[in-house]
Symmetry: C2
Subunit: 430 residues, 2 copies
């Protein structure tokens, strides 16, 4: 049974706060183990990487066989069915087109007193892309992480993907080829993150590492952060659906289950102003659950973390939604634009009854790497901006330095920084 | 004696790599102490905060006296000299004007098949601003951190500043008033970071925390990251000056010392193509050093981390500069724009002989919170973008869902996600 709340309940605020604060994930404490793995890869390079791959992935590699060959990638691509290739190519085209609009423009300008200022954007030179192995080895994630980097102008994208006993998902290789990934290595875990961050004899280091992974990968990314850049640390997936009573309950139930099937820690929440509709959705979820191949996962997620919240009016949903700050937000209402205008915190919003969140997972064009665990209050989904950096520019003439210099000297004086003051004063013969 | 390297030396690559890799800062391991502080503030709120302030800052406060009053702020402002106020106001105007250009534009558009897509930007609702106490309590840093937040539209800026035995720098209060800070609390350390992240009876929690601090503050920011957003973890300051032999060696020496006086771990590097000029700068540094009030700090920084690198041609400086990825980069050469065009990794660049880096610290208009420790390879200085977040938007009609849906269903199928496929198929009667 999912949580049931009604905004008219006396204990609503308490229970809503409990729902918000509930920890869905137990973070395994793997920090010490990960530190040892990183240290060993830093110290011994390839030798450590190969030994750790033998131990964790039961795979015997050599420096020469770590890298997936062009022939393997080509074979995986050729083995992919035409329907799948067409879908991957459509997704690629739409993701690339959307992300090209995110490229920031340089801004050089001259202000009122003639000082030149500006911001110049350049691409990060090299990026490491982590792709999980096994059942979470998704070709769509390869596209979502690699395409913004390519659009940004990143020259080198080095992908790593663990190959347990040698097994690789050929669709992941096909997606990497479509996205233009430069290099692929069949390694994973904290040892792969360490190799990307510090380099080995075979793998050149990168400047930034992105992509999802298990607790070891997440801890490794946290530990190498600072030496290299990282993207967010993603938590379990979430959807909030705000729906009026005019929806087909089966459609909404399907949307709730699409999140729930990801992970037992995933969360699906419905907010509606129609109690009878809420009941119909709950019934539809139960009915659909039994037919899913991942029924056990979806059922556990829905039972432990699912929630149905009944409000008096849809306008009451907005402040609750902003407190949840959902990763995905569906507005299945008659006037979704009006409701959207009153909302603030969400990773991605899906407007209207014909925009299921799943479209955004694959072919909408927007990115499916989005802030989880209420972090949409302060962060954004993956974009081209994650693969560029800005250099600010300042250029003064002697005359402009004479105009602005005295204020700088005064502030250096009150901050007790003599040499700061002198660096300006010496140019003004002061 | 600073490091001396020449690109023609046989061991140049080795020594340059050693210079790049040298650790300038010993990170104190305060993680466990900080964890205990955060836990105690989370559990006991104000009571813990007041006890920790008594212990660490030797200051007896009550919930009522934690907050700096309007009258105190007003008195600090009134006590500030007109010259200083004028300088702060000039800095504020110029920083605000520059940062207003960084406000990102929303982007809603319709693609070729009629699908509506977009990015909508909104401000982070509330921000905590950490300001160090003591000699590093800089009014300029208050402006540099608060102004981008105000320009972004952040409604609430809660500033914390430790007051050892009650002492507050009145200029920090004056700068906070000029910048429009909403609330100021006389607390600091990891306990202040915990109060901002989790809230207490007196202090409402914020969504993001920015600002520099000591090892305790940095560790606390790392630990609360995820629950709230944080800015970068700043390391010791750095400057790289690329200068030809036509510069006044005293000007360049002053610029090198302006970084060195910050911190014994600060780093000043000169790259020049003129050996005789290099010697003249080294002599000028020694001469100027003796006259600085912070001579001891500057001398230690220059001795341990300072470097002079002589190259054969200025064009050889560019690849070295990109490997250093300096926080601040001065191009004191005849054609700075041409050299800049060949460079990629730098937090802020200062073009020409009349743009000392110090102008950027105070009144240039660009931000002085910049990526240190080679992180300009993958990150940028503080900007309005740090105080906004993006929601991506997707809106399909029934017809467009019919067009894109089959590709999404195909990708869901190959990824083994039944409910994903159903969420689309059910709307298409498939």
């Amino acid at each position: 049974m999912p949580w049931r709340l009604a905004s008219t309940d006396e204990d609503f605020e308490d229970r809503f706060a409990t729902l918000l604060g509930a920890k869905r994930e137990q973070a395994a404490d793997v920090d010490a183990a990960v530190r040892a793995i990183i240290d060993s890869v830093r110290a011994e390079g390839d030798a450590a990487l190969l030994a750790l791959t033998r131990r964790f992935d039961q795979l015997e590699l050599t420096p020469a066989t770590m890298r997936v060959t062009e022939a393997e990638i080509e074979a995986a691509y050729e083995a992919t069915s035409p329907d799948t290739l067409e879908a991957l190519n459509l997704a690629h085209r739409r993701i690339a087109a959307h992300h090209r609009r995110q490229l920031p423009a340089d801004d050089r300008y001259t202000d009122a007193i003639g000082v030149e200022l500006g911001s110049r954007w350049t691409a990060v030179e090299s990026v490491g892309l982590y792709v999980p192995g096994g059942s979470a080895s998704y070709p769509s994630s390869v596209l979502m992480n690699a395409v913004p980097a390519k659009v940004a102008g990143v020259e080198r994208i080095a992908m790593v993907v663990p190959a347990m006993r040698g097994a690789l998902n050929p669709l992941v290789l096909a997606a990497a080829k479509i996205a233009g990934v430069s290099e692929i290595y069949r390694i994973g875990g904290a040892q792969a993150v360490a190799a990307l961050a510090y380099g080995t004899q075979t793998i050149a280091p990168v400047a930034k590492i992105v992509g999802p992974g298990n607790a070891f990968v997440a801890a490794a990314k946290r530990q190498v952060f600072g030496h290299v850049g990282i993207d967010m640390i993603a938590g379990p997936s979430e959807v909030l659906v705000i729906a009026d009573g005019d929806n087909d309950p089966d459609w909404i139930a399907a949307d709730l289950l699409a999140q729930a099937e990801h992970d037992t820690a995933a969360q699906s929440i419905l907010i509606t102003d129609d109690l009878a509709f809420a009941d119909r959705v709950e019934t539809a979820v139960e009915r659909q659950l039994s037919t899913l191949s991942r029924a056990e996962t979806a059922a556990a997620s829905w039972r432990d973390h699912g929630a149905i919240i009944v409000v008096e009016a849809l306008s009451d949903a907005a402040p609750l939604s902003d407190r949840i700050a959902p990763e995905h937000l569906e507005l299945a209402v008659a006037d979704p634009e009006a409701l959207f205008a009153t909302l603030r915190n969400a990773g991605a919003v899906f407007l209207g009854r014909h925009t299921p969140e799943v479209i955004g997972d694959y072919v909408g064009g927007s990115n499916h790497v989005l802030p989880t665990a209420r972090s949409a209050r302060f962060s954004s989904g993956l974009s081209v901006l994650d693969f560029v950096k800005r250099t600010s520019v300042l250029k003064l003439s002697a005359g402009q330095l004479r105009e602005l210099g005295p204020a700088a000297i005064e502030l250096a004086r009150v901050e007790g920084l003599d040499a700061h003051g002198r660096s300006v004063a010496i140019r003004l013969n002061l």
